[in-house]
């Protein structure tokens, strides 16, 4: 199973920090899972110009292909101006419309204010649903006060990250089994 952790912003460090905890929890509990962290701060990704994702080259091609090859994606996103960052939206725009079919997608949000709690619910989930993802319904919401200098200081957040990782893997395994059983019935 291939899981991609996608840290969706070029700004700040909190999402990246939380995603590192997430990948660490994933590696510890599921050593057989092939986990890749993509931090968009480290890649020079161009804006979508409408071509097929396979026709992008360089960093853009790498990021698009790695996401398309994944069985599950854990998206980490900050909230900017009451929405997801443009860097993250651009990733969706690079991909085909049903790109997330047969993939499980889970969400981790970092935000400066609890007022942003519903942003992922109202703005990120509709995108994932449109792109046919199987969305892990519960997401982890982390506030600024839960961090201290690139560390997470709230144990409850760590527990929630562990549950998110577990839910992501369990749902991916389950959906894969269901799909395989259903496809075996078709006889072609």
């Amino acid at each position: 199973m291939k899981v991609v952790g996608l840290s969706g912003s070029k700004v700040g460090s909190k999402t990246r920090t939380a995603m590192e905890y997430t990948i660490k929890a994933l590696n510890e509990k599921y050593p057989d899972v092939e986990a890749t962290l993509i931090d968009l701060a480290e890649y020079d990704v161009q804006f979508s110009d409408g071509r097929n994702y396979m026709e992008y080259t360089g960093n853009t091609g790498y990021v698009a292909q790695t996401i398309m090859d994944a069985d599950a994606i854990i998206i980490g996103t900050p909230i900017f101006q009451a929405s997801i960052p443009a860097t993250l939206k651009n990733i969706f725009d690079l991909l085909p419309e049903k790109a997330l079919r047969d993939k499980v997608v889970s969400i981790l949000v970092t935000a400066g204010s609890p007022k942003h709690y519903l942003v992922a619910e109202q703005q990120l989930k509709p995108i994932l649903t449109y792109m046919k993802a199987q969305v892990v319904q519960s997401y982890v919401f982390i506030e600024e006060k839960d961090f201290y200098r690139k560390e997470i200081t709230n144990d409850d957040v760590l527990f929630r990250i562990q549950r998110l990782v577990e839910d992501t893997i369990v749902l991916t395994e389950t959906y894969t089994k269901i799909r395989e059983a259903k496809e075996a019935e078709y006889g072609f």
Partner: protein
């Protein structure tokens, strides 16, 4: 219809098209050489003609996993290898070519084929050729519209005066040779949604509609939009043919046909579009109301006749060879078309 060389008394035309894809056979993992693929396409066309098939066409795609980038050269070889079947392109990407050169090439093929040639001009669903040939993808729409208009103008007028954005102006330019009858059918290739079908109608050109999968009723919207647009622009829709194009595979039973076809279509889609064909959608393709003509000969006959009832189209072209299908399989399909499917289609669609 006569202008476009259709005779309703002979029934709906049945054709074959290839994108010229060059994909490994998923059953063996092996890929034949580009030379063998091109020669098999020419052989495929000859067999199609022998089976009584009405039309054969070849497309261009400029990327990995294709072999007919120079599609007009391949069509030219088919013109020489056949005698009576109509031939054409499916499609010619006019956006990234010079319409003068395209017309010269196809008029020449028309002379070689003794007046059997047609052009189907499209916008490209795979856009790698824009980089390769030095065009800006941002001009995607305008490049097509301008160059397609020029191609149509050259077809109507032997001496052309024209100026536009993407090509040097033409002043009293004589575009020769002329096709055998001074003119040849030029179609607009249209994807699923109605927007492009409406443009075809407003331009007063015949329409090729890609119908790969999904309910026929969904594609009917594009057909109706096309005919409405023709009327709106002052044309008589009964004078303009429509052709549909889609997946085809025949075998003894529908289950067998699906089993044989799925690995090819899935791998082909995976390699050229980056996404396989979902099994659930493919399974629904067996439904009598789905446009995918994959099944037993009897089921295919029923589906094509149903589609004819829904669309009222003049030609259907079948894509049989997509995704590394072996030549033996192609021969088997041609045989089933020639002996079982074609006679029934003709019998039930011929206007008395």
């Amino acid at each position: 219809m006569e202008k476009y060389r259709f005779d309703p008394s002979k029934g709906m035309e049945f054709g074959i098209y290839t994108l010229g894809d060059h994909i490994p056979n998923p059953h063996t993992g092996e890929r034949i050489s580009a030379q063998q693929r091109i020669q098999e396409i020419i052989e495929f066309a000859k067999l199609a003609e022998q089976a009584g098939i009405d039309f054969f066409s070849v497309g261009e795609s400029h990327q990995e996993y294709f072999a007919t980038q120079a599609h007009s050269v391949v069509i030219s070889a088919i013109a020489q290898a056949t005698e009576k079947m109509k031939i054409g392109s499916s499609a010619t990407i006019i956006s990234t070519s010079d319409p003068v050169r395209v017309y010269e090439d196809f008029a020449t093929i028309d002379l070689i084929s003794n007046g059997r040639t047609e052009i189907i001009a499209g916008r490209a669903s795979r856009v790698g050729l824009f980089d390769l040939l030095g065009y800006d993808l941002r001009d995607y729409e305008e490049l097509y519209e301008e160059k397609f208009e020029l191609l149509l103008k050259i077809n109507e007028e032997e001496v052309v005066n024209w100026s536009g954005q993407f090509r040097a102006p033409l002043k009293n330019a004589k575009v020769i040779p002329r096709p055998k009858n001074g003119w040849m059918p030029i179609w607009r290739a249209v994807g699923g949604p109605p927007a492009s079908a409406i443009k075809a109608g407003l331009q007063g050109v015949p329409m090729y509609l890609a119908t790969l999968g999904g309910p026929a009723a969904s594609f009917k919207m594009s057909v109706e939009a096309y005919r409405e647009a023709l009327k709106h622009a002052g044309y008589d829709p009964s004078e303009f043919p429509i052709s549909t194009a889609g997946f085809f595979h025949a075998a003894e039973t529908t289950q067998q046909a699906q089993k044989e076809a799925y690995p090819h279509i899935n791998l082909g889609m995976q390699l050229i579009n980056g996404r396989g064909y979902p099994k659930q959608h493919f399974a629904q393709g067996a439904d009598a109301h789905d446009v995918m003509n994959i099944g037993s000969p009897q089921q295919i006959i029923e589906k094509i006749l149903y589609q004819h009832e829904v669309f009222g189209h003049q030609r259907y072209i079948a894509q049989i060879d997509f995704g590394g299908v072996s030549f033996d399989r192609l021969k088997k399909n041609i045989e089933l078309i020639g002996t079982q499917i074609l006679p029934e289609i003709k019998k039930y669609t011929a206007k008395k």
